[in-house]
Symmetry: D2
Subunit: 337 residues, 4 copies
């Protein structure tokens, strides 16, 4: 019998997931990756550097610096925790910009990618709505701008289905006209594990790459393309249906293994040959099956609106703190709406 | 080995799906169901009467009259088709009201259930935004209302997480104060098959029952509760993740059966014991596996915003035509926004 | 010549303005009014008690307790000031509830009056979106609610033109079903002076009276009607066009008086007989002139969206602090979105 | 006495108003203006050509072609009339494009100027939401586009206060990247007369000029700037407060003239020297008086949300008909949401 499966790569936008997959497949640490983990008060901060091309290829992520904030408690809508995450985010983001050599007076364009009409894809536009925008003061009345503020503009370029224009074209057009020194692009991502949905924030200096995020980007937002460095901020707000089906297979296998006391034969009897296929093959199988339905299906919790608002607020508040020295870094939630 | 599966009932809000499941399980037509099908121009209209308690129990749906509009072409955003569906809907709905003995001057309260912040759950509120509301004219200047209009009010009561109040309590309070003769409640539903998502409209004289729709209703909107007849209009806009996993199992089994030329032994080798479980058992297994993730997960196409708007527009336009004789039934799209 | 002017009363929803008008007309303090003013850090708090019927009639406001927060700096979008106002508001509001004998476990229904589609009328719905709602936890899992939280529900009942139903009917229906102990109603108001627009918050224990606010309320929300005490929170977000025309007359007269060095004759020559008319007469004249345009015209600054969001945020944050003891009263801005 | 008034020009964005003012001032027809009026079924269509520089200077409008649709009945929310206006608009717009030499396959970028958060300024963004966007189909699958459709993209660039970027910069950036052949820019305008608010649509081939519309544009969208012809579509949705005050003076003077049977002396006694000032002087006086309030005040009817939605729908439907031959020109309202 010939299953003739194409090996699909597992769909994730998170570097920490890519690393875990690579380590599982290669049976140990991947050379060329440097990781540094802090954990405090329920907030796990992982700084992951993909240092060379070899490492990049092994984990399937672009060379660069990644910071991941994992906060399982974000699901419980604990506002004190949200405030803490925003504060930690601001501090890390501030340090990240310094490490990248971004000057304290560098002009920043914040780009909120995604579709404001689809709740799990509205993260970027929501952040844009809530960041402090100052560029027009610098342009019109530069001598009246208080010290400690930076030149910040912000735009939500919409999605192809709404505008007929690639968001990358809108952004590049604006970059050409307004000449920012740094772009910060916020996007909703897909994650491999449901536990990470709405509980994880990833910051990376690699920009936005084609095919990443929920929307079907066909061109990216990178330094190579735009001529300006681009920091990407992403939050997984969905899984793909194919991923979740695949996850269920894994969990079922584990379940049967447990029940059968590790009796692989019995477990195999239940799950059949499927247990012999590797993850990529099974994913291909699932996709083949789902394909006739004709649409890329997304999976979200029903309460997605509350999570999205909370995380957009955390990121907007964190950015306001990190970008403007004058913003009181201990209490700036009031700066966002 | 003891799988100890609870038999979950398959989750669908559509009577036509319940009937198909019941017929598959019972191996033939179910007595006490009367069905009448029209199909024209890509619009399939099924009028299904659940005539007695026995039939009701067999298909797991409340006794009553159901009309289902199935229009696969709605996915292709063909505006002429949309106009046609709205026109067919208006005609059927008008006849449905007559059949139920609703007077042409009966006062109507339209209730848009669901959460306006979550795209696939926003159908009801969107319809409410687009129907013609006239009650205030009847109350304030009754002698100035042109003939051919009916007394119509409309409300979107919100969801428990936003208001802290059951939508049924909000509606009942309003019914007590405004004394309508008929309630029309619009709600987003879950379907068993992805093909029906955003392509199907169900009308039924059974009201809204606890647990139906996307939101977690714990009280219903029925004649028994409200003292007023309630027609429910529903559109499946999501599947549950558990349903979709289950679907994939079915499709895989079919796939392997095809590939193995119907060689059940080989197919069974691949799918293992799972092929021996019935649908309910497998669904229980899947739910058990997904449960730790802690949230009821919904599955939608990414383009959900466009579908929802189109169908809300069809229903609002159809209702405007059906409820007000003065509304030109050949061209009223302009009446909605 | 017979001008035959009806004497229109000057349109204001603010007690402090009514008091000033009455004192100007009666040439001195009005007996039965008790006033107490605090001013700190640019926030002026006026506690005004209308103690008896005589005073009530003289100033044309219902007997009761009024607190007014006047903060001219709110126009400059100073976020630190906003935070301070929210904190002062919370403290005053908390004291106000105690003074009225509201128990610390009294169940509260927050009502956001107004039209969410018209920016200056959207204050109430915006506050409702941002307050913490807890009633469903008390109803569903009362033993799991942490101490320090109160039972709060919230609704934006819409306006007559959108629903066909008086907002007072929607609210009364909900009150009948959910039995709150206190109603807090938020509404956008009209002020007599443009300086007060978007810089003033009024709290009063008198409920909402017919004709107050921007919308055309024909029934009120008062203890007499609802059987439950109702605290009204109002912010003037517009002036009426008639008021502004009238203001311009006043300012012109003052302007000419200044220019002519107080030479009343010259000034009178310029402004004509208009200077002899009293304010009510002139207002009637202006209204007569505007009436053919057929609509009640409102006047707002163009940047109304930013002001409304800021003040809605201040009130929502203040209410969250005042209503829930567990909410950190020093830093709760993060609780709102 | 020295009033020292600056002569403010009367603020209107409508060519028909400019012409009327110029004719009143110059006492008769202005040479170089060609006007052509059709009136049918309550829709008055005025085609006004400003043919040379002399005429342009006299009426204070750029040389070019203007079409004005005046429909007083639009205030009564008559949906049949709306449908008729949309149809007339489509036909005129189609002819206008031909007259300008725009090819039937010319690529069009629709630009919705204004602030979506301020109801009377949200016209442009609302139209953009409702037009058919097809450019992505032409880019991605050009051979699958049905005949009769045109390449159309659409964007709402936001306003300076939201993005920190001039909308003209956003548009120019997009024009540079996507190379449209024609720009259609929709903007909310200010009118001199309240009667024209929300009842008038102006189409002109002159683009958008600095200072026009509600927002404070400091750069325009014209062929000179963008290198692409730009048709402007405008609807007056507000008056400025200064204009309305001035109008009231005029109406009062007329009122007193009537009452005094044309006895100028008596009338003058009432209105004082103000009747001697010309309109520009009085406007300056009013502005001087209002200035301390510090904001540009706008005046709108309270029901602005309904008017804006109706007119946005008319324009979007009209554009869909005019731009795409395949769109059924007799019934396309369903194409808009």
């Amino acid at each position: 019998m010939n299953l003739d499966l194409r090996e699909y790569s597992v769909r994730t936008d998170l570097a920490v997931e890519s690393k875990a997959i690579a380590e599982a497949e290669h049976g140990g640490p991947v050379p060329g990756l440097h990781e540094d983990i802090d954990e405090l008060d329920g907030i796990k901060v992982t700084r992951l550097d993909v240092q060379d091309e070899a490492a990049s290829q092994k984990i399937g992520r672009v060379k660069g610096h990644y910071i991941t904030f994992e906060v399982p408690g974000l699901r419980s809508q604990d506002t004190e925790l949200q405030e803490k995450v925003s504060s930690v985010f601001a501090k890390e983001f501030s340090g990240f910009m310094k490490k990248l050599g971004i000057q304290s007076n560098a002009k920043v364009l914040i780009v909120g990618l995604g579709n404001w009409n689809v709740t799990p894809d509205s993260l970027g536009p929501l952040v844009v709505e809530n960041v402090m925008v100052t560029r027009h003061f610098f342009e019109l009345t530069p001598d009246q701008v208080s010290p400690g503020y930076r030149d910040v503009s912000a735009i939500a370029p919409g999605v192809l289905g709404l505008t007929g224009i690639e968001s990358s074209d809108v952004v590049q057009g604006i970059v050409d006209r307004t000449k920012p020194d740094l772009i910060i692009a916020i996007d909703a991502l897909a994650s491999r594990s449901l536990e990470r949905v709405n509980t994880t924030i990833q910051v990376a200096d690699i920009g936005i790459h084609p095919g990443s995020g929920i929307g079907n980007k066909r061109r990216g937002l990178t330094k190579e393309i735009l001529g300006v460095p681009c920091i990407a901020i992403g939050v997984p707000t969905v899984c793909y249906a194919s991923t979740i089906v695949n996850n269920v297979f894994d969990m079922m296998t584990a379940h049967f293994n447990d029940e059968s006391g590790g009796d692989q034969a019995q477990s195999k009897q239940i799950m059949g040959l499927l247990t012999d296929l590797n993850e990529g093959e099974r994913l291909g199988l699932v996709k083949e099956v789902l394909e006739p339905l004709g649409h890329d299906l997304i999976v979200t919790p029903k309460e997605i609106d509350e999570f999205i608002e909370d995380i957009a607020n955390i990121i907007a508040t964190g950015l306001n703190r990190a970008l403007h020295e004058a913003v009181d870094r201990d209490n700036v939630a009031a700066y966002t709406h």
